[in-house]
């Protein structure tokens, strides 16, 4: 059952991602991107990481994707010129893919396999965040603050 589900989700996610990169209409691309994000969330659920899956849905699908759509709607549409197909990009991407596939095929197994059947509760995650991971948590908060200030400064309209 699980491998069938895995295959289905993988195909869905990958095709949505390819569509997001290729579609000409920006809004269509943004919506395909959202589908790809849902697919990633489905992987998390499949792996038994319910909390991460939910966060993925809330943050990425709920907030980030909506933000992208709003940004597209609210900004000017640039000239939609066709720059032609980027062959060098395709060649590089295929080379990277080939190298990765070769490495994956040649590698026997991961050092740490996920323990099956162990579910981590939200409470445990919260406790870990406030004890062992409190320092990175604070620093991520600072990172977001810096990003917020920076984004605001850059879009602030100058009165001249």
């Amino acid at each position: 059952m699980n491998s069938a589900a895995f295959f289905f989700i993988a195909v869905l996610t990958l095709s949505a991602a390819v569509a997001a990169a290729c579609l000409r209409q920006l809004v269509h691309a943004a919506l395909s991107f959202a589908v790809a994000l849902v697919g990633v969330a489905a992987f998390y659920f499949l792996l038994g990481a319910e909390f991460v899956g939910l966060v993925q849905v809330f943050v990425y699908v709920g907030a980030v994707a909506v933000l992208i759509v709003f940004t597209i709607l609210l900004t000017r549409h640039g000239t939609d010129e066709n720059r032609g197909f980027n062959w060098s990009g395709v060649v590089i991407a295929l080379a990277v893919l080939a190298a990765l596939l070769w490495a994956i095929m040649r590698t026997p197994a991961l050092y740490v396999a996920a323990q099956p059947g162990v579910t981590v509760t939200v409470r445990q995650i919260g406790e870990a965040l406030m004890s062992d991971y409190v320092w990175p948590l604070q620093c991520v908060g600072l990172l977001l603050t810096a990003a917020l200030i920076g984004a605001l400064v850059l879009v602030l309209e100058e009165k001249r």
Partner: protein
């Protein structure tokens, strides 16, 4: 561990963050008027507070306990980390002062706050020996620097530089994160100290090797090593001058120390060898090839540059290549040579960009032509620039000479049978090329006449109008470059002692 202890050990970072918010508030409360530019008084007060905060943070670092490790290496206090955190704070201090002399940007408060936040990112990078925190530090620094690069909204090149830097940077970060996740998958830990033994006990699977290479990409991007240097010329040229100086100095120092820790502590067992006769697979041969590429590309492309900032950018690529030599040589000696070289390079570049900032304010540009006859207009600036450039070229008795000597001799001694001789020879050849283009700049400064001859009044004007403080700073930096060349032992001994 209690929160109180965390607060005590993280006090320097906390102080810089608080300072950033105070500076931000000063800018918000007093700065907003109808006109675009920040009032001079606000900018002055902000810079004063920022400089004061950085000084207090540095004083706090000195008072920290000698050794402490929290959360499996997420926050590590050691003599080495403290020394380089202080160095980064000093570089940020100079950047703040030089930003003071810059044309008044709008939102000066926010600009200073971003400098401080970038500094916190650098301190996090230096002060952690754990992959998660290293990545957060990398991102905090990166985001702040992207914004600072695009800060001059009146200039199109600034926006373009910011966008390029951002796109390249986020791509490099994505690779690094992918690589870190692979490494975590194979070793089951994110602590550098624990990764080393895990790597030693298994044969290197190809996918893990891919992970290591991907991790390196992010740092090679930061130090602008050759195939990942494409952002550097635009960022160095388009960004506000103080930002360019900070990218070239503080960001580089922190990147090199973290790169060194990751390679020598974490990936030590899979280093391989780049010896001419005895190549062993690992990260060393990769770094050796990139170092050679950086030296060649950086120096050759710098030869044809007509803009001083672009020239400094390409020479930065080459200097990144030299600095990698120490890491390729490996061991304590190699690491300390790398750290010494990157430190003096950072000091030199802050100064060089300071001079560029003055010329830019006076002439409105920073092409070679704008430097023509600088000696006649301001002997002080011309003299400082000569010291900085000759140090970069590696002439004795300046700091750059000893740095290169230390670096190259360490690399030569590292391999059995002088295996790294090929790379050292290439680096020496590169230095020779670099001497040529640095001398071209100096020739323009000292010998060429300015197209529009400057009367004595203009010269007096130039000397007086320019801020006193930034000029004194440049003098201090030039003095430091000279002093570190004459008595380099003080800093080297300090670095070696801090390895403990």
């Amino acid at each position: 561990m209690s929160y109180l202890e965390l607060l005590r050990l993280a006090a320097p970072e906390a102080i810089v963050v608080l300072t950033a918010f105070v500076v931000l508030t000063i800018g918000l409360v007093t700065g907003r008027r109808e006109a675009g530019d920040t009032p001079a008084a606000t900018a002055g007060l902000g810079a004063l507070v920022a400089a004061l905060g950085l000084a207090i943070a540095a004083a706090t670092i000195v008072r920290l306990p000698g050794h402490a490790t929290l959360f499996h290496g997420m926050l590590v206090v050691s003599p080495l980390n403290s020394l380089f955190q202080v160095i980064v704070l000093v570089l940020a201090f100079f950047t703040v002062i030089l930003a003071r002399g810059e044309r008044l940007l709008p939102n000066k408060g926010e600009y200073l706050a971003m400098i401080l936040l970038a500094t916190v990112g650098l301190m996090l990078l230096i002060g952690s020996e754990e992959l998660l925190m290293i990545f957060i530090g990398l991102e905090l620094t990166g985001l702040s620097l992207y914004v600072m690069t695009a800060f001059d909204k009146a200039s199109q090149t600034s926006a373009e530089a910011g966008l390029k830097y951002f796109l390249f940077g986020s791509m490099a970060s994505a690779f690094t994160l992918f690589g870190l996740s692979l490494i975590y998958g194979f070793t089951g830990t994110t602590s550098l100290a624990a990764i080393g033994p895990r790597l030693a006990e298994q044969a290197l699977p190809p996918l893990l090797f891919v992970g290591i290479v991907m991790t390196l990409i992010g740092f090679l991007f930061k130090i602008a090593a050759a195939p990942f240097h494409l952002w550097a010329p635009d960022a160095y040229q388009g960004a506000p001058v103080s930002t360019a100086g900070f990218i070239a100095s503080g960001s580089k120092v922190a990147s090199f120390i973290v790169l060194g820790k990751i390679l020598l502590i974490g990936f030590g067992p899979v280093s391989g060898s780049a010896d001419w006769h005895g190549l062993i697979a690992g990260w060393t041969p990769i770094l050796a090839v990139l170092s050679a590429l950086s030296i060649l590309i950086g120096n050759l492309v710098a030869l044809v540059q007509k803009n001083v900032r672009r020239l400094l950018a390409y020479s930065a690529v080459a200097h990144g290549g030299y600095t990698l030599l120490g890491l390729i040589a490996g061991g304590r000696a190699g690491f300390s040579a790398t750290l010494f070289y990157t430190t003096i390079y950072a000091v030199t570049l802050v100064g060089a960009f300071g001079v560029v900032g003055f010329v830019r304010r006076e002439n409105g540009g920073d092409d070679l032509a704008d430097f023509a006859g600088l000696r006649a207009r301001s002997p002080l600036l011309a003299g400082c620039m000569a010291i900085f450039l000759l140090s970069l070229a590696g002439l004795p008795p300046l700091a750059g000479f000893f740095g290169k000597f230390y670096l190259f001799s360490t690399a030569l001694r590292a391999g059995a049978n002088h295996g790294l001789l090929w790379l050292v020879a290439l680096a020496l050849f590169g230095s020779l090329i670099s001497l040529y283009y640095y001398l071209i700049v100096l020739k323009v400064i000292f010998l060429d006449e300015n197209a529009q001859a400057t009367p004595a009044v203009a010269r007096y004007d130039f000397e007086m109008r320019a801020d006193y403080l930034p000029k004194m700073t440049l003098l201090v930096l030039a003095g430091a470059v000279l002093l570190l060349g004459i008595i380099p032992g003080t800093l080297v001994a300090r670095i070696l002692a801090s390895f403990g």
